[in-house]
Subunit: 380 residues, 2 copies
């Protein structure tokens, strides 16, 4: 085994753990916090809760909420100006992947200056960032665990993958009670995103024993608990989805992702779709494309989906992918590319941009523009 690295934040996990936010910020030296979130999280009352906890602890803060789904480069710039004006010293974000990714972008500018677009790719963030505490409000993005930051470059119409060890926050506080206030579409999109993280990182070129076991744990938990969460909305099922999303985050942050995410980023930069809902469309086609490069691992994934521990690799891989497509269809989410794109005119551009995405580097099978085009055709 070659040299491998494994880095995760300090994790505080459990119902009611949101109250740890103030002592955590203080421990990191906070005098004045920049708190980042969005209107959706505000509406469900969680931003106010964080503010109440900070107020009770005597912490001061500035607040920034101009973050959209698929956060934009100019939003990062604007948040950075608020950070400067506030003379903030610690960054706290509460939200799904979008506020957390925006927070990471702001932290990059705070520590390194320049434009966020300067840092696209792997290991281009050189100077330390201000301390970060993140509270995820979805069980999916894994951004609270990861070295990844995805920001939309508006001019180039693509989502930039920025990957750096220093983007792992100091502390991630994961309170599953927050999921009780989320709608079914978001629960589904998040769980599918987490499942894709587990699958792609499990077969990644950089997978290690420390990441594969986290990926397997996530895969084991997601499908049964997603079903249960949709049936009864129970906190037990939502908590298991949180555990799975955290484990998948530990895995993909260190092992990287693959062609499905490369394509999702390129597609998501051009069309403003909910990231988690791109995977039901792309993941099965990418999995089929990858089978020849990792038949045993695809067999393991297939057995996990099918719940048939004795099924041989080739059958399990094949039938597992088919079953996954059925499961996605049962969830009533878009499952064909034609459901989310107006026509095929953008496929060339989408395929071309996917080749250069950092996630493509760790896909087990080499994919150029032609391969991405044929994946898109098979997903059409």
């Amino acid at each position: 085994m070659q040299v491998t690295k494994f880095a995760i934040p300090e994790v505080i996990f459990g119902r009611g753990s949101i109250v740890h936010v103030a002592p955590c910020a203080r421990r990191l030296g906070a005098k004045r916090v920049l708190l980042i979130s969005d209107r959706g999280v505000e509406e469900s009352g969680w931003v106010e809760q964080v503010m109440d906890v900070m107020k009770a602890s005597g912490l001061e803060w500035a607040y920034f909420n101009e973050v959209s789904s698929n956060p934009r480069d100019w939003q990062v710039r604007k948040g950075f100006e608020v950070y400067l004006e506030a003379k903030a010293d610690v960054i706290i974000a509460i939200g799904g992947g979008s506020p957390i990714d925006a927070a990471k972008g702001i932290a990059i500018l705070a520590g390194n200056g320049g434009r966020i677009n300067d840092y696209e790719g792997a290991n281009r963030v050189m100077r330390p960032l201000p301390p970060m505490v993140f509270l995820p409000t979805t069980a999916g993005s894994g951004s609270d665990m990861s070295q990844f930051c995805i920001i939309t470059d508006v001019e180039r119409q693509l989502k930039m993958s920025i990957i750096s060890r220093s983007l792992v926050p100091n502390i991630s506080i994961i309170d599953p009670l927050i999921l009780l206030t989320k709608g079914q579409e978001l629960i589904i999109a998040s769980a599918i995103d987490a499942f894709s993280h587990a699958v792609e990182s499990y077969v990644s070129r950089l997978a290690s024993p420390f990441t594969t076991h986290q990926a397997l744990l996530a895969m084991d938990l997601i499908l049964p608990n997603l079903r249960r969460a949709l049936e009864d909305g129970s906190i037990e099922a939502l908590e298991q989805l949180s555990i799975a999303s955290t484990a998948a985050g530990m895995s993909f942050s260190n092992a990287g992702l693959g062609a499905a995410h490369a394509l999702a980023h390129s597609l998501g930069g051009r069309f403003d779709v909910l990231h988690g809902l791109v995977h039901p469309v792309l993941l099965p086609s990418v999995m089929r494309f990858n089978v020849p490069s990792c038949p045993q691992k695809m067999g393991t994934i297939g057995r996990c989906i099918l719940g048939e521990p004795d099924c041989p690799d080739a059958t399990a891989a094949d039938e597992g992918i088919a079953r996954l497509q059925e499961l996605f269809a049962e969830l009533e989410v878009p499952v064909r590319l034609r459901d989310i794109l107006p026509d095929k005119s953008s496929l060339e551009q989408i395929a071309g941009a996917a080749v250069g995405d950092a996630c493509n580097l760790t896909n087990p099978r080499k994919a150029g523009k032609d391969e991405f085009l044929s994946i898109c055709e098979s997903a059409w």
Copy 2:
């Protein structure tokens, strides 16, 4: 699930990873390092290797090697004086549990002052420590991963458990090539120590999904790879033992240990025995004592030992413990308490001291002095 915490160092794992020590120290701001090791590690040439890497990188250092097996309180004090005199800013330790635990003790005094004995117990280290980089030379202690520091109080003749989040080092560099230079007795003692970490943390009162999966990974790997390492000394088997020890370290650092370690610390403070060789004596008796409190988990452990995935809990627990005792006997290590103690005269004192050890707090079944005495009797 109640609120749970999971913290581990940044991990750099793999053959040849020792060369990362200088860039890691630099990244943590090192100008002048305190390097800690012992004569055994010196003799195998690894201390020189670390020095060569630091020299090539232009790092200055002071060196402290007055660390014995089961490091003493006065050794920590002496190392701290070297730290002060050298005006060191980063601590690097290379060794088994002893140099690493000594390094943690020195770091506590560097950050907090006072005597090391002041910090016995859980969460008594209040002020930050200097940055720490550890390179384990055994696949067992897990000290390079953990919040634990075990120092012998010479006057009271016991091993103090000092447990604090801040004892997790910044970076652990795990190079399995180092194990190629270790003798069989140390490989055995280390593997059994790691196995005990996995078993005790798996059934601990503080076990969480993040720790139980690490414990299971460790248990799965240790027994087959220990056998293989002893047969062929292959780097592949040693590497798997390293992975297992690291996983077990992630588990016990966050979930805590149990009655076997409480007893091992009390016994090891009074008699200067190799820590890993106390477990073959104590662990089976403690496991039997614990079965009524966690029959299902003990069934899982038993199935792992037996390699029989379909065996029912009660049979698996019972036969698994018996098989473990046979395996220990086959390794030709002491398996009865009478093999390592001169007579029964110290049992009362050993049992009494075990009750107050911090590891006893997380044992699944409450154990007072009488219970520890009866465990000792059954292990005699």
